[in-house]
C-alpha cells in the first residue's frame, strides 16, 4: 500500500537520524512532524517503525522502505538541479513535492537518465538501487562528459549540452557532432581530442559540455 506523503517524510528524517548519523533511532519530540500526527500511526500499523519511550526505531521492513524513500528524494533533487536547472530553496521545495511521484519504476527511469548518480546536490549519498547495481555489473558507463574519459579512451559523441549557441556552432564546425567517434588524447593540463583526422585543444569548461557514450 502506498504511504502518505507525510509518512514518507518521517521515514526520510528517521533514515538520516538513525542510519546516516548512526544513532539507531530518532527522538520523537525533535521530529519536524508533530508526534501527534496520524502518519506515525500509519507507519506503526504497517509494521515499518516502532515507537517506544519517546523514540522511533526502524523495523527491518521499514529500513528498506526508508532507504528507497531517501533515494527517491535525492534523485528528485538531482533531477531539479541537473536537468530542470531549478536551484536553491525553490529546488529543494519542488524536489520535496516531486519525490512522491517517483515510485513504481519511475525512479529507475530517472536514475538511468541521470546515469546512476551517487550523491545528491548537497553531497549526501544516494543509496544504490537495483538499476545501479545492474549497470555496475554489466559495466555500462552510460553517457559521461568528455572530462570523465581517460587519455586514450574512445567513444561516440552523444550530445552537446551548452546554452551558448556560438559555442555550439564552433564545436559542430570542429566536427563535434553526435554520432562522431571521438578519442581523448590528453586530459592535462587541458584537453586534446581527435575527431576524424584532426586534433583539437579545448579547456575543461568546454570539455564538460561534450557528452560521450563509451
Amino acid at each position: 500500500m502506498k504511504l502518505t506523503d507525510k509518512a514518507e517524510e518521517i521515514l526520510e528524517a528517521l533514515w538520516i537520524e538513525s542510519e546516516e548519523n548512526g544513532k539507531g533511532y530518532a527522538e520523537l519530540d525533535r521530529m519536524e512532524i508533530h508526534p501527534s500526527d496520524a502518519a506515525y500511526q500509519e507507519l506503526a500499523s504497517q509494521a515499518l517503525v516502532e515507537i517506544k519511550g519517546g523514540r522511533i526505531y526502524f523495523r527491518p521492513e521499514g529500513k528498506e522502505e526508508g532507504r528507497k524513500t531517501i533515494r527517491r528524494h535525492r534523485l528528485a533533487e538531482r533531477l531539479m538541479m541537473d536537468v530542470l536547472n531549478i536551484r536553491g530553496e525553490n529546488g529543494d521545495m519542488k524536489a520535496c513535492q516531486f519525490e512522491h511521484l517517483l515510485n513504481e519504476g519511475v525512479d529507475v527511469k530517472v536514475c538511468t537518465m541521470l546515469n546512476h548518480p551517487a550523491t545528491c546536490p548537497h553531497g549526501k549519498p544516494i543509496p544504490a538501487g537495483e538499476c545501479c547495481e545492474e549497470a555496475r555489473r554489466i559495466g555500462d558507463l552510460g553517457v559521461v562528459p568528455l572530462t570523465e574519459l581517460k587519455s586514450g579512451d574512445e567513444g561516440d559523441i552523444a550530445y552537446i549540452l551548452t546554452e551558448d549557441g556560438k559555442k555550439m556552432q564552433k564545436l559542430m564546425a570542429m566536427g563535434v557532432l553526435p554520432g562522431n567517434r571521438i578519442t581523448l588524447l590528453q586530459a592535462f593540463p587541458s584537453y586534446i581530442f581527435r575527431v576524424g583526422f584532426s586534433e583539437f585543444a579545448i579547456d575543461s569548461a568546454m570539455a564538460r559540455e561534450i557528452f560521450v557514450r563509451r
Partner: protein, 664 residues
C-alpha cells in the same frame, strides 16, 4: 594558414592595380594551405590590407594565366558560411560583395568528412565553386584513398587533387581558373523532405535578387543570421513585412535544434558522397610527426622541450648570435670603425655650420645615432628573432604551446591563444599589440595589451639589457624575477579588476611539419620590412627632436626636471637621458643605458633599478600609437598612465629594497 600574416603596410585600402581583373577567391578552413596556394599563384604583386571597417587582414595578388590577369583574394579562414568570428564575417563579405568569378574551396584531404559540409553550403548557394582537395601527399602517407573523379561527379563541380606545398596540382588549378566555372546543375543533393519544405516556404517568400541562391539566403535567415536579415530587409523593401513573420514563425517551430539538425543532415549527405570515394585503413598509421607532437604537449616532456627551444632559440641564437656576434660586427666594426668616421668627414666637408653638422653626425645625429642604432643594434636582433619566430610558427608549435600554458594564462584572464602575441612581444611589442586582435573578447585584448606594454621587453631591449646585466649575474636574476613577478601579479589583479566574461579556449592543433625555408624566409622578410618601415622614421624623428632639444637647451631643462625623480630612484642624473630616449623607443633608451654603463657611471644596483624601471616604463611611441589605433584613446591613455607610474613606483620600491637588504 599562418596565425598571423602581416605583410607590408597597414593601409586601409587595397592597392592592387587590377580594377578590371576577374576575381578568384580562395576559401576554406584555417590550416589547409590556402596561403601557400595563394603565394604559389600570385608571386610578386601582393598587398595585405585591412578589410574596410574591420581589423581583419586580406591578402590580394595578381596571377597571369594564359595572358589573362586574375585577382586572387586569400580570404581569412572560415568553417561555415554562417559566420561566428570577425574573420569568418569578412570571408563571407568577400563572397557576398565582390562577386568572385571563381571560388576555390581549399580543404584538407585528411579531413574531407569534416570540411565537405562547407562545400555543400557553397554549392547550395550556387556560387561558382571548384574544390581543391589539398595535402593529398600526407593523406596518401596515412593510407587514405580518395577517388577524385568520382567525387567530382557526385558533387557536380570540378574537383582537383593537390599538394600545394609540393607544387602538385598547380597546373590543374591554373587551368581550372583559366577555364572558369562550367556552370552547374542545381545542387545534386537534398535535405530531408521536412527540411526542404521548410526552406522552400521561406525561399518562396523572397522576391529580390541575391548573389547567393534563394535557398541559401532562406537557410541563413532561418539560422538567425543578422547581417543577411539586414540585407534581405533592404532588398525586399515592402515585401519584408511578409518575409519577416514567415521567418520568425519557422524559426520558432524549429527552435529546438535547427543548427544541430542541419549539421546532422549535412553529415549524412557527406557520408553518402564519401561512401566508396574515400577509404581509410582500418589501423591508424602513427606518423613520426604525431609522436613528436605528443612529446610537445605532455607536461613532463613538453616543459623541458620548451626550455630547450627557448634556450637555443632565444638565448643562444637571438641573444648570443644576434645581439652579441652580429651587433659587434655591425655596430662595433662597421659603424664605429668605418662608416661613422667616414660619413662624419664627408658631412663636415660639405656643411660648414656646426649645429647643422650635429643634426647629421653629432652626438644625437640622424646618421651617427639614429641610423647606427636602427641598423647596427636593432636590425640584427630583430632579424634573428623574426627568423626564430617564423620557424616556430611554420612548424605548428604555437598551438601546442598555447595548450600547455592555457591553465596558467586563465589565471591572468587570458587563454592559451594569447601566448602567440606574448611570444611575439619578445620580438616587437608594437607588432604584438596589433596581433592581440586575434583574441576573441575585448577583455582579453585589453589585458594582453596591458601586459605587453608593461612587462614584456622587446627583443631589441632584451638584447641590450642582457648584455648590460650579464656582467653581474645577481643583477640579471633580480631583473628577471622582478619582471616575472610583476607580469603575474599585474595579470592576476587586472583579471580581477577588468570586467567581462571568462574566455573559452579552443584551438585546432595542426600536424607538426618541418618548416619550409622559402616560407620562413618570406615571412621573416615581410616582418622585417614592416618593422623597418615603422621604426626607421621614428629613429630619425627622435634624432631630430633630441638635436632640437640640445640646441635649444630644452633637453638640459628636461634632464634637470627629471633629476629629482632619478634621485628618488637612487640613479645618477645622467640616467634621465636614457629615459628621455626611452620615451621614443624603449630599446633606444636601453641603448642609452648601455652608453652610460660603458662610461662607468653606474654600479650594479643602479643598473638593475634603471633596467627594471626602463623595461616597465612607457611603451615606445610606435606601440602607443598602435594601442590607440587598436584599443581606442581612452584605454591607451589609461594603460600609458598606469604603466608609467607603475614603472617609477616599482623602481623606487626596488631601490629601497636593494639598499635595505644590500643584495647588490
Amino acid at each position: 594558414m599562418a596565425f598571423w600574416k602581416k605583410k607590408g603596410s597597414c593601409h586601409e585600402v587595397p592597392t592592387v592595380e587590377s580594377a578590371g581583373a576577374r576575381k578568384v577567391a580562395l576559401v576554406g578552413n584555417p590550416n589547409v594551405g590556402k596561403s601557400v596556394l595563394f603565394n604559389a599563384l600570385t608571386g610578386a604583386y601582393v598587398t595585405v590590407s585591412n578589410y574596410p571597417g574591420t581589423s581583419v587582414e586580406v591578402s590580394r595578388g595578381n596571377a597571369v594565366i594564359d595572358g589573362e590577369t586574375f585577382e586572387i583574394v586569400d580570404t581569412p579562414g572560415m568553417y561555415s558560411i554562417l559566420p561566428i568570428t570577425e574573420e569568418e564575417r569578412v570571408a563571407r563579405e568577400i563572397l557576398l560583395n565582390e562577386r568572385p568569378y571563381l571560388v576555390l574551396h581549399v580543404l584538407d584531404a585528411r579531413n574531407l568528412e569534416r570540411m565537405l559540409p562547407m562545400t555543400l553550403q557553397l554549392i547550395e548557394a550556387e556560387l561558382p565553386v571548384v574544390l581543391v582537395v589539398n595535402i593529398m601527399d600526407e593523406a596518401a602517407r596515412m593510407g587514405l584513398e580518395i577517388d577524385i573523379a568520382e567525387l567530382s561527379r557526385r558533387l557536380g563541380i570540378p574537383v582537383i587533387g593537390a599538394a600545394t606545398a609540393k607544387k602538385v596540382g598547380l597546373p590543374e588549378i591554373r587551368a581550372a581558373i583559366a577555364k572558369g566555372h562550367p556552370g552547374q546543375d542545381s545542387a545534386s543533393f537534398r535535405y530531408s523532405r521536412l527540411m526542404e519544405s521548410d526552406i522552400a516556404e521561406v525561399a518562396d517568400l523572397l522576391r529580390g535578387e541575391y548573389i547567393l541562391s534563394r535557398k541559401a539566403v532562406a537557410l541563413l535567415l532561418l539560422q538567425g543570421d543578422e547581417e543577411v536579415a539586414a540585407l534581405v530587409r533592404d532588398v525586399e523593401g515592402e515585401n519584408w513585412g511578409v518575409v519577416e513573420p514567415g521567418v520568425r514563425e519557422k524559426r520558432f517551430e524549429r527552435r529546438e535544434s535547427l543548427h544541430l539538425d542541419l549539421s546532422m543532415e549535412r553529415k549524412t549527405i557527406v557520408k553518402k558522397v564519401l561512401d566508396g570515394t574515400f577509404s581509410a585503413p582500418s589501423k591508424r598509421v602513427v606518423t613520426l610527426a604525431e609522436r613528436i607532437s605528443r612529446l610537445t604537449v605532455r607536461p613532463a616532456t613538453g616543459v623541458p622541450l620548451l626550455l630547450i627551444v627557448l634556450y637555443f632559440g632565444l638565448y643562444k641564437f637571438v641573444g648570443d648570435f644576434g645581439a652579441g656576434t652580429l651587433v659587434d660586427v655591425l655596430e662595433g666594426t662597421v659603424f664605429e670603425k668605418w662608416f661613422n668616421p667616414w660619413i662624419t668627414g664627408v658631412v663636415n666637408g660639405i656643411i660648414p655650420w656646426g649645429p647643422v653638422r650635429d643634426l647629421f653626425v653629432g652626438e644625437y645625429g640622424i646618421i651617427t645615432l639614429g641610423i647606427r642604432y636602427a641598423v647596427g643594434i636593432i636590425l640584427p636582433i630583430v632579424a634573428t628573432f623574426f627568423l626564430f619566430f617564423s620557424m616556430l610558427e611554420d612548424s605548428g608549435y604555437f598551438p601546442r604551446l598555447a595548450f600547455l600554458v592555457d591553465r596558467i594564462f586563465k589565471s591572468i584572464g587570458l587563454t592559451g591563444r594569447a601566448v602567440i602575441p606574448m611570444v611575439l612581444g619578445f620580438g616587437c611589442d608594437t607588432m604584438a599589440t596589433m596581433v592581440t586582435r586575434t583574441l576573441e573578447t575585448v577583455r582579453e585584448r585589453v589585458l594582453a595589451t596591458l601586459l605587453l606594454a608593461l612587462a614584456i621587453p622587446c627583443s631589441a631591449q632584451l638584447g641590450v639589457i642582457l648584455s648590460l646585466l650579464s656582467k653581474s649575474p645577481g643583477a640579471l636574476l633580480v631583473w628577471s624575477l622582478c619582471l616575472l613577478g610583476i607580469f603575474l601579479l599585474v595579470g592576476l589583479i587586472a583579471a580581477k579588476v577588468v570586467p567581462g566574461e571568462t574566455p573559452m579556449f579552443y584551438m585546432e592543433i595542426p600536424p607538426m611539419r618541418l618548416p619550409q625555408w622559402s616560407n620562413v624566409l618570406t615571412k621573416t622578410y615581410t616582418r622585417m620590412q614592416w618593422y623597418f618601415m615603422e621604426i626607421l622614421p621614428l629613429f630619425v624623428v627622435a634624432s631630430v627632436l633630441l638635436w632640437l632639444g640640445k640646441i635649444t637647451h630644452f633637453f638640459e631643462k628636461m634632464v634637470d626636471a627629471m633629476t629629482p625623480v632619478m634621485g628618488a630612484l637612487g640613479l645618477p642624473r645622467e640616467t634621465a637621458v636614457a629615459f628621455i630616449f626611452g620615451f621614443f623607443r624603449r630599446d633606444y633608451g636601453a641603448a642609452g643605458l648601455y652608453d652610460l654603463q660603458t662610461k662607468g657611471l653606474m654600479n650594479p644596483r643602479q643598473l638593475t633599478v634603471a633596467a627594471v624601471t626602463l623595461t616597465l616604463f612607457i611603451p615606445c611611441v610606435a606601440q602607443f600609437l598602435i594601442m590607440k589605433k587598436e584599443r581606442g584613446m581612452k584605454v591607451a591613455l589609461g594603460i600609458g598612465l598606469f604603466v608609467s607610474s607603475f614603472a617609477f613606483g616599482s623602481g623606487w620600491v626596488l631601490n629601497k629594497f636593494l639598499l635595505a637588504t644590500g643584495i647588490l
